[in-house]
């Protein structure tokens, strides 16, 4: 007789159009038994919070493996070993913390690649006393609810994305040398509206969006700001206030995210793992 280990599994919405919370236990997560369901909820809801689940680094890595292909960080020198990546503004832990300053503005990860990561998984290891929340917005929902005439007007547009544009957000007067370093991180042309294999569509926006192709800069800025303003309005957004041990996973292909400001000396530390992308922008 199968002696079912009683395991906790309670799923609830955290906001009407984005985000679910799952109250469960480590064993359930690590068993992989719910992996398909977690992926389904993530795609549908954008963000899943596992309140105070308190996974260790090893457990977070193992959990990540249950959901898909573990993605290694670029240039972290891990030699292909599975590691968590420390997100911190403390330069003694992360010498290139300046580069993270772009994360305080709405973005999705991987706009310089053809196939962006599927998801990020982040655990809170140390908190800032004030600030440091993470905002998420649902870019599927934002697309779905755009008026039909606006959908028609923007559906075929293409947008040039470049990392250097997002860096100007935090440093609007860089030196020429800084600008060239940022520019060396590349550019790409992406559809404004991502037609996923599932048939669903999402908006591709964020701080790396430089200019809409075949549109002058002034008009392009107006449209990009308008759509970002639309997508980040409260009805499509969820603000996660972290507790120690919280883990959040988000669908990078159907959301944008940003960190809220916090004292860079506060010691705030997040450990992140990622899932390899499975679908190219299209």
């Amino acid at each position: 007789m199968a002696t079912a280990v009683s395991s906790r599994w309670e799923v609830s919405d955290v906001a009407p159009k984005i985000g679910s919370a799952i109250h469960t236990d480590k064993e359930t997560l690590l068993s992989g038994a719910r992996a398909t369901e977690i992926r389904e909820i993530m795609e549908r809801r954008g963000v899943i919070v596992f309140p105070e689940i308190n996974l260790t680094d090893e457990e977070q890595i193992a959990f990540t493996h249950t959901l898909g292909t573990f993605a290694h960080e670029d240039g972290e020198g891990s030699g292909g070993k599975d590691t968590v990546y420390p997100i911190t503004m403390d330069t003694s832990i992360n010498p290139i913390a300046d580069y993270l300053k772009g994360a305080f503005y709405w973005h999705l990860d991987g706009t310089m690649s053809k196939k962006p990561i599927l998801a990020s998984i982040m655990s809170a290891r140390a908190l800032a006393p004030e600030g440091g929340e993470t905002d998420f917005c649902n870019t599927y929902a934002a697309w779905d609810e755009l008026p039909e005439d606006e959908k028609a007007a923007v559906e075929q547009l293409k947008v040039v994305h470049a990392t250097w544009r997002s860096q100007l957000y935090w440093k609007p007067e860089p030196t020429y040398q800084e600008l060239q370093q940022w520019m060396s991180r590349g550019r790409s042309v992406l559809p404004l509206v991502w037609k996923h294999r599932s048939g669903r569509k999402s908006l591709v926006l964020g701080a790396t969006a430089l200019q809409i192709e075949d549109m002058d800069f002034t008009q392009s800025e107006l449209l990009l700001v308008k759509l970002r303003d639309w997508a980040t309005q409260q009805q499509f957004s969820y603000r996660h206030t972290w507790k120690l041990g919280d883990m959040v996973i988000w669908d990078n292909t159907g959301t944008m995210h940003r960190a809220l400001p916090y004292d860079h000396k506060s010691g705030r530390l997040m450990h992140r793992t990622k899932l390899e992308g499975e679908e190219a922008f299209a």
Binding site: A162, W170, P172, P174, Y176, R187, T218, L222, R228
Partner: protein
């Protein structure tokens, strides 16, 4: 003999590439505008003139301004404009400070930008804060290589106040952006060929697009030239003492405020000279 009373301009360079100190007395400066011609020449030649602790009253600052050209009224009549972040004096203070912290030229929306601003210090901010920075855009142009000059001389640039918004509010609401964009924009030459024959760079935080260039090329040109023009050789940062007056040639410099505590009571009085020459 009247020769004995002739006043001579007494000035010294601050740096080779920008700025002079004028050491004449208040009485000499105000006496019938006898030095006005020489002061204007020096202003054009040096970009920024500092009159240390000259202690003009408002009436004297206005009178002195009028010796140099046409007084540009701000608001009603001939009066000084108070520059402060005190919310009682200036309700839009915070927004004003944010925009002025970045290198800019005044009047890029106009055909004829103001010739000069005169700023006097009534209450300084704590030392090390609230300096005003100046960059000499004549010197910066003149020090470019011939190849660079040839590459830049005929370029045209779109300027718009809305572009400055992104410096301090990179994620504005659409309502705010529309408000700024409604102010309009203007195409200007990248290199201003003045009637004098001298040339200066027209750049700063209102400049957003070089016509005919990709966004990347455009940013390389505008950031590259701003970085060049604001290097040590072409810049001067004025630390204010009570009573200092500074004039800068708005047609051959950029300027910016350096950060200070809005509640510190810093108070400056400004007058302006009407522009006399269009960008082109």
């Amino acid at each position: 003999m009247s020769v004995a009373t002739e006043i001579r301009l007494n000035a010294e360079d601050i740096k080779p590439g920008i700025g002079s100190r004028v050491l004449n007395t208040k009485e000499e400066l105000l006496r019938g505008g006898a030095l006005a011609g020489e002061i204007r020449e020096l202003l054009e030649a040096r970009g920024v003139l500092v009159f240390p602790k000259i202690d003009f009253s408002d009436a004297e600052q206005i009178a002195f301004t009028k010796t140099l050209g046409t007084f540009a009224a701000e608001g009603e009549g001939e009066a000084v404009t108070k520059i402060t972040l005190d919310v009682k004096e200036n309700p839009a203070a915070a927004e004003y400070l944010k925009g002025s912290l970045y290198w800019h030229i005044d009047g890029t929306r106009n055909d004829v930008p103001i010739l000069a601003s005169l700023l006097s210090c009534r209450v300084p901010s704590p030392k090390g804060t609230g300096n005003t920075g100046f960059s000499n855009t004549y010197s910066a142009y003149e020090a470019l290589s011939d190849e660079q000059k040839a590459a830049y001389d005929d370029l045209r640039v779109i300027h718009g106040p809305w572009a400055t918004l992104f410096y301090h509010d990179p994620e504005p609401s659409i309502a705010k952006l529309k408000g700024y964009q409604a102010i309009g924009e203007k195409e200007l030459p990248l290199v201003w060929a003045h009637r004098s024959g001298r040339k200066s760079l027209v750049i700063g935080n209102t400049a957003h697009t070089v016509i005919g260039k990709t966004p990347m090329e455009s940013a390389e040109i505008l950031v590259g030239l701003r970085d060049w023009a604001t290097t040590e050789a072409f810049t001067y940062s004025h630390e204010w003492s009570v009573g200092d007056l500074v004039i800068w040639d708005n047609t051959g410099t950029m300027h910016r405020a350096e950060a200070y505590d809005p509640t510190c009571g810093r108070m400056m009085h400004r007058t302006k000279l009407e522009g006399e020459e269009p960008f082109e």
